[in-house]
């Protein structure tokens, strides 16, 4: 396999192409077949099968692992749209299990307790596409070099607070602008400073964007939150706790799908935001001690 130029690697390109069909969509966290059905009916482009949504993982504490295959299979049987599932960072056997279960995409996720405190999964070894989290360009390009076919900015999962999602997407865009505007002789040093693999960074310098689809995650609770992220440049949105921790999941799920499809149309966002009931209560991430933030997981 050609690891020197992974972006031209046919296996990598095929995975990135498959993922592209999710563009402009909303991916919803679900813990039961009933929730998955609600998500599908609301217009989710895919569901993330989980044992607990991030807000509950936060509340429960302890070690968060890959979901029970029983839950994943029940959700796969309940819906016709793609089903994703999370593996712990570095836990390549959980990823092997998810591939054996036939999930459509594996999220190597900081929301679960990391299994390796130094290394991520070698995602080139899998035919299933991976999505990974990032807070800046260096982190994104490290994950893509490891074979991630899709990125999502991390935000702060399970808080319902959008500020970290905004911070991470803005940082990514800032970094992309730096790379795009740099003279050629500056790029190797920028690559070292950002921790961004040089060869993949050259793509960003030329195209001004990541070489894979990039969604926003971690903190979306309202249709306006979702549209904010898409107006800022996200190509779709993950909603974790925001739907099934709200008072009317069916209605909120539909409203968020509509807000993403018509992200630039304020009258539509206003219309779908009427009468949604209470959003998830949430946690102000600014008041959160650093050691309770999960965004720092990943290396």
């Amino acid at each position: 396999m050609d690891r020197v130029n992974i972006l031209e690697n046919p296996a990598f390109k095929a995975k990135a192409e498959k993922i592209n069909r999710l563009r402009g969509g909303v991916i919803m966290d679900c813990t039961t077949p009933d929730q998955a059905k609600i998500a599908e009916d609301a217009g989710a482009v895919a569901v993330m099968a989980l044992e607990r949504v991030p807000a509950d993982i936060r509340a429960a504490g302890g070690v968060a692992r890959m979901a029970d295959p029983t839950v994943i299979q029940a959700i796969q049987n309940a819906v016709s749209i793609p089903v994703m599932a999370k593996a712990r960072i570095g836990h390549f056997v959980e990823a092997q299990v998810l591939e054996a279960l036939g999930v459509d995409c594996i999220d190597e996720s900081e929301v679960l307790t990391p299994a390796d405190d130094r290394y991520h999964i070698d995602k080139h070894q899998f035919s299933t596409p991976f999505v990974c989290g990032c807070r800046n360009l260096g982190e994104a390009l490290r994950r893509i070099s490891e074979g991630a076919a899709m990125m999502r900015t991390k935000g702060e999962a399970g808080t319902g607070d959008i500020v970290e999602a905004v911070r991470h997407l803005r940082q990514l865009k800032d970094d992309i602008r730096v790379v795009q505007n740099a003279d050629d002789e500056e790029l190797v040093s920028i690559s070292r400073e950002m921790g961004a693999p040089y060869h993949v960074m050259l793509y960003v310098a030329e195209h001004g964007r990541l070489p894979v689809l990039n969604f926003s995650a971690g903190g979306v609770a309202t249709p306006a939150d979702a549209a904010l992220m898409v107006q800022l440049g996200a190509e779709g949105v993950f909603v974790g706790s925001g739907i099934f921790k709200s008072s009317n999941p069916e209605k909120r799920a539909k409203a968020i799908v509509r807000a993403v499809a018509n992200y630039a149309d304020a009258s539509v966002i206003a219309e779908v935001s009427v009468g949604l009931g209470e959003a998830m209560r949430g946690i102000d991430s600014a008041g959160m001690p650093e050691n309770q933030k999960i965004q720092g997981r990943g290396w």
């Binding site: 095929a14 192409e17 498959k18 993922i19 592209n20 069909r21 999710l22 563009r23 402009g24 969509g25 599908e40 009916d41 609301a42 217009g43 989710a44 482009v45 895919a46 796969q76 016709s80 749209i81 793609p82 036939g102 999930v103 459509d104 995409c105 299933t128 596409p129 539909k254 799908v257 509509r258 499809a261 018509n262 149309d265 539509v268």
Partner: protein, 189 residues
């Protein structure tokens, strides 16, 4: 010639890029007002047919687009777009535009985001590269529907009157001939 690409979700950007390469004026359709400038042909892209089906209803685009399609507007549906145009979906009572007399099987090649590429004959064009991603195929056709391509016994492209459908994604290859074929239908209308 103005071609609209349904841009509620999915691979609309790729179709618009192909249209740009062919020097055709393409535009995104996200809301009713997008139809105000007139339309000579419509492309329904790949993506999730369930998502597009719901959003078509929610945005109020469904009825006006259906009227245009029933009124002989040339339409090209790829992958999910084919599902939106089919008269019948296997194991699913849903009918979207119901514009072409074919029965389609969703996720016909397995439910995983599995994909494959092949090169096969496309009637009237010749050998064409075909990229399939979680693709449907056609299991039955009514009289009057012309099958244009078959892969391993499965019907993957068909046309009837103003409607053209493919299971595969011509917008993901460098071969522009399937789009040119559709533009021929638009020009000949």
């Amino acid at each position: 010639m103005r071609l609209g690409v349904l841009a509620l979700q999915g691979a609309f950007a790729e179709h618009l890029a192909v249209l740009a390469r062919l020097g055709v004026d393409g535009f995104e359709i996200r809301k009713l007002a997008d139809l105000d400038g007139g339309i000579d042909g419509l492309i329904l892209p790949g993506g999730e047919s369930t998502v597009m089906g719901r959003l078509l209803k929610d945005t109020g685009l469904f009825e006006p687009l259906k009227a245009l399609i029933d009124g002989d507007l040339p339409v090209f549906g790829t992958c999910a777009g084919m599902i939106l145009l089919a008269k019948k979906i296997e194991n699913d009572p849903t009918v979207h535009f119901g514009a072409i007399g074919v029965t389609v099987r969703r996720n016909a090649y397995g439910r995983q985001l599995g994909s494959f590429q092949t090169v096969e004959d496309f009637d009237g064009i010749g050998k064409v590269p075909m990229t399939f991603i979680r693709a449907p195929y056609i299991t039955e056709v009514e009289d009057g529907v012309r099958v244009l391509a078959t892969v391993n016994g499965a019907k993957v492209a068909a046309e009837c009157g103003n409607i053209l459908v493919t299971s595969f994604h011509p917008e993901l290859t460098d071969d522009l001939r399937v789009h040119q074929y559709f533009l021929g239908k638009v020009a000949g209308r």
